[in-house]
Amino acid sequence: MELTGAEIFVRCLKEEGVDILFGYPGGAVLHIYDALYRQEDVSHVLVRHEQAAVHAAEGLAKSTGRVGAALVTSGPGATNAITGIADAYMDSVPLVVFTGQVHTNLIGNDAFQETDSVGITRPIVKHNFLVKDVADLAETIKKAFYIASSGRPGPVVVDLPKDVTAAKANFKYPKSIRLRSYKPTIKGHPGQVKRALEMILKAEKPIIYAGGGVVLGGAAEELTTFARELGYPITNTLMGLGGYPASDSQSLGMLGMHGTYEANMAMHHADVVIAIGARFDDRVTGNVEKFCPNAKIVHMDVDPASISKTVKVDVPIVGQVKEILADLIAALRDSGKQPKEAALKSWWKQIEEWRSMDCLKYDRDSELIKPQYVIERLHALTKGDAYVTSDVGQHQMWAAQYYKFDKPNRWINSGGLGTMGVGLPFAMGVQMAHPEATVACVTGEGSIQMCIQELATCLQYGLPLKIVLLNNRYLGMVRQWQEFFYQGRYAMSYMDALPDFVKLAEAYGHVGMRIERPQDVDGALKEALAMNDRLVFMDFITDDTENVYPMIPAGAGQNEMILV
């Protein structure tokens, strides 16, 4: 049967199991919007800014493991989507972003709302396509979803000229797709698995360093089994939180710039580092010259380019971490071998000493609300089972440190790009995908204002988000660096003229609360969490002098932390 390009587009989404599409209409995508209007399989969520459409699709993808989808118009629609696409690229989020384009015969003529979307997104996508012929449309969309979700996931942009969406073609969705130039490795090389196991079992001071790849690769269960069978300490990266239960005694918490003392010290003194789906990011390694000076490194990753990119690896294994871990567990059991018990015992003794420093302690008797306390109470009152999104800055680090994630896909934040403004749209995507779940957005008064307009979207779709604003009147992380490294010259980091967030929330049709005393924190959170049909915006007025500790200053080694 002949269908228009717009109808084919909708059918393809249905074939790919996309039931929620985030977007914003405009001239170049009007045929598509008309086709969306005439069907019921794909529901469209109208955001208030294209950036939020992409972030919301990311939120859906990160919390479900499915491919997120967004649709924007040409020109400014596409350029507004750029931040979201770059964010997804840095954090390997499976995403397909459809951008409208001017008529094919106008491309290159500086037509109204024309921009070279394929050119402009090239450095920040896994791949992109310009569809010039409606006959290629279905196959291109199939390729886009396949590329986005396989191997190391990432965003794919499909640029759709308006005439292509109007032209007709026979619709036939390809069942599978084969690309001669793209064959991601799935299984790890058996020889490498064997070498890795030997090195792992020889360790006297081992540590497992697990990253976002574990969460993205759905390998949390395998990781947990692997770590427990060995009895080795484990630390998670910012992106890997929830990949191993934080409440477990083997967990040393997060590592890196604002990681725990015990995690960073264990990394620094380890003799074998087992890196799983982690990419040795500069916020983790600090100064690479001083990174894990005595360690042999085993690195499992689906992306060969992540291996030995910044830190030389001794035993690399390329493949899906889920597969590699399953093979390692099987090989471990078959071998009948055990880790070195005595050495491990004294290693744990050392780690417990580090842990007893209690590096996340803070002043619990303060008369001001401590941001850490709010997160701790949020964790307790949601029983650690909420989906938590965050923006970027101090509040993000506090959420990562104090909300002990026991499950994967529950912690949704912007790690690589560090995008302020993602928290609210992320939360929209998460709530859309999990209508019954508690979704909290931990944010700051700087970040929340970057996508504040989405409060309207939340009202339109009845999203009962719980916004936890840690309001310290400063761009806190900037202020912290200025305090530490610029002798307290707080250049442009004070947020003057803040809106009344309670009134603002109310103006958007939501419930607003302002909380100014520590003794009111619990009551407010309980009240907000009980309102499961309303968005509640909680403006916590927190101690404006509070800093994130521990901290490894830029250029320092992992053992050179600033503690409270």
């Binding site: 050119g119 090239r122 791949h127 310009l130 690309l179 001669r180 130039s181 793209y182 380019a305 291996i307």
Partner: protein
Amino acid sequence: MRHIISILMENEAGALSRVSGLFSARGYNIESLTVAPTNDPTLSRMTLVTRGNEAIIEQIVKQLNKLIDVVKLMELVEYPYIEREMMLIKLRADGEVREEVKRLSDIFRGRIIDVTSEIYTIELTGTGEKLDAFMDAVGEGRILEVVRSGAMGIARGERVLKV
């Protein structure tokens, strides 16, 4: 160290800019780059000359392989290989030096492909060093215009780069 990377890639619009964009975005250096379709019209073959230490070259190769349009690649310096570059060079060849330029061209196995009473245009093929040597021999003062193709390379013997 100088490296020559041969790349087979999908002959599609934008494929070249994916490669050149990768190099500029990641700060890798491109000494020369040539590209044209192969006997299989769906494939282009690119020869890319770059410089870097072992770790950088390893990353370049991995990042190139990550590009969806890159089908296959080969680091030529790992094998015995042949390298050629073509140059078209326009020289002032008048008066008493006219014969001398012709002789030099012959020595370098160049071909004079266009002639006026005062100018020779010469086609010359060889390694980059040979082309440099020819330019040194004729002297900067005689050179009116130079076009160089950039290096192309192919492995010796049985080894082939194909899909």
